[in-house]
């Protein structure tokens, strides 16, 4: 049994979840820099990644202000280990083919959109402000990723087949998007995190709508799901992402000397 968190610790924990998810999916998208299937897609992916890293910075800065060890935003992003990371397992999954990249983005964007939609009404001005800014950007992300799910799903025989594989293989990581733990339940009661039932209903509703329009199979709501990121239990991919992402800061602390 772990010690109950103070409200400040719980809030910081939740802010780190938001920040880490944004940063890790952003890092994944950046792996496609120079390798995307078309130049327009590359620009779009990098711009989405840029929005997300900016949002991550805003959340990290708030988390840093609440940090008892007085770590700053960069230290939180670049000096923690995999077991301290709280990003959703979905965000660390590999890019795969373009269907997988866009399916991962779509599941994430739907969650992100409804989460922010709820946080803009949070009784904490700083959270509401960051969320309101981010929501405008994420609305675009969701428009784009849902359009790709539809275009590939309702496309050629091959694109349909690939998107079908993508939405199915990533499904097992979507459970934790809408399964709250005690930290989130406590914060939700104070309006500092989304209402879990509402978030689950909204997420499932929009995913069903888009998959249907994309002529893709609806996934099983009762399927077995990987949960774990909220306790720091990750898939094997996160360590490799961090090894690359944190190399510079660890080898040349804060890159202050060139």
């Amino acid at each position: 049994m772990t010690k109950a968190l103070t409200q400040q610790q719980a809030l910081q924990e939740y802010l780190l979840r938001l920040a880490d998810s944004n940063l890790i999916i952003s890092q994944r998208l950046c792996e496609l820099c120079g390798k995307a299937p078309a130049v327009e897609e590359e620009m779009a992916l990098m711009n989405v990644a840029l929005d997300l890293v900016g949002q991550a910075r805003n959340w990290y800065e708030y988390a840093a202000d609440l940090d008892e060890a007085k770590r700053d935003a960069d230290t939180l992003a670049f000096r923690r280990d995999a077991h301290d990371y709280r990003n959703l397992l979905l965000t660390e999954q590999p890019n795969g083919d373009y269907a997988e990249t866009m399916a991962r983005q779509f599941y994430f964007d739907v969650w992100h959109y409804f989460t922010l939609l709820s946080l803009i009404d949070a009784p904490d001005e700083r959270i509401a402000g960051i969320a309101a800014k981010a929501l405008k950007e994420v609305t675009y992300h969701l428009r784009r990723s849902s359009a790709w799910v539809k275009r590939l799903g309702d496309g050629t025989e091959e694109s349909h087949q690939r998107m079908e594989v993508a939405v199915e293989s990533l499904w097992r990581f979507t459970g934790e998007l809408i399964t709250p733990d005690q930290v989130e339940l406590d914060l939700a009661a104070k309006g500092l995190a989304p209402n879990p039932e509402q978030l689950a209903a909204d997420w499932k509703g929009m995913v069903k709508e888009v998959l249907t329009e994309a002529t893709l199979s609806l996934q099983d709501d009762d399927a077995w799901m990987h949960l774990g990121s909220k306790k720091g239990i990750h898939t094997e991919h996160l360590g490799l992402i961090l090894a690359e992402m944190q190399f510079l800061q660890r080898a040349y602390p804060d890159a202050k000397t060139w």
């Binding site: 620009m43 711009n47 609305t139 969701l142």
Partner: protein, 192 residues
């Protein structure tokens, strides 16, 4: 490699419209403190480094001027969370103000209310269009989640026959369009 015996022609000519705001702002040598109108005028010389056609005032990122004791405080709202120009814009503003004789200005980053394209001034929109960027059309508050922007007008020929190439253009704030009449590609400043 340069061929021996040939001297390259000097290519560096002074820019008519220097990028660095402090190069455009005359040094305030009179020692007279600037009034608020003059400060706004001075900030008009600070251009967006990514869209140098418009100033930070026309773009609507400078929200407010105020004084705390003797210190000028400038409220600045970034356009996008991840806008890489945010830090630079803040530095350019501070630099221009100091050039104008304002000591130690404070640049305050304000996230709320979030920046919206509705704040781009009519002059700013016209300058964007002349620069070849279609200004945001319609009002940000009416943007629908999965709907589409209204028909975008080509900034080159004025035709309404345009199509979207990508939701994102050269920067996060723009989308890529193409005119089906004059066939020119162009950036559209997205409505957010």
């Amino acid at each position: 490699m340069q061929k021996p015996g040939k001297t390259p022609k000097p290519t560096a000519t002074p820019l008519e419209n220097p990028m660095i705001a402090s190069d455009r702002v005359p040094a305030n040598v009179s020692g007279e403190p600037l009034n608020e109108d003059q400060i706004w005028q001075l900030l008009q010389e600070v251009k967006d480094p990514e869209v140098p056609a418009v100033s930070v005032v026309e773009l609507g990122v400078v929200r407010k001027l105020s004084w705390q004791d003797q210190q000028l405080v400038v409220d600045v709202t970034p356009t996008y969370s991840g806008c890489p120009a945010t830090d630079l814009i803040e530095e350019l503003i501070a630099e221009a103000l100091m050039q104008g004789g304002i000591r130690n200005p404070k640049i305050k980053r304000v996230l709320t209310p979030a920046w919206t394209t509705d704040w781009i001034t009519p002059e700013g929109r016209e300058k964007l269009r002349k620069f070849g960027i279609a200004p945001p059309q319609g009002s940000a508050s009416k943007m629908s989640l999965l709907g589409h922007d209204e028909q975008i007008t080509c900034p080159h020929c004025g035709s309404k026959h345009t199509e979207q190439v990508s939701e994102f253009g050269s920067t996060a704030c723009k989308a890529l369009y193409r005119c089906t009449d004059c066939l020119e590609p162009f950036d559209y400043f997205k409505c957010i």
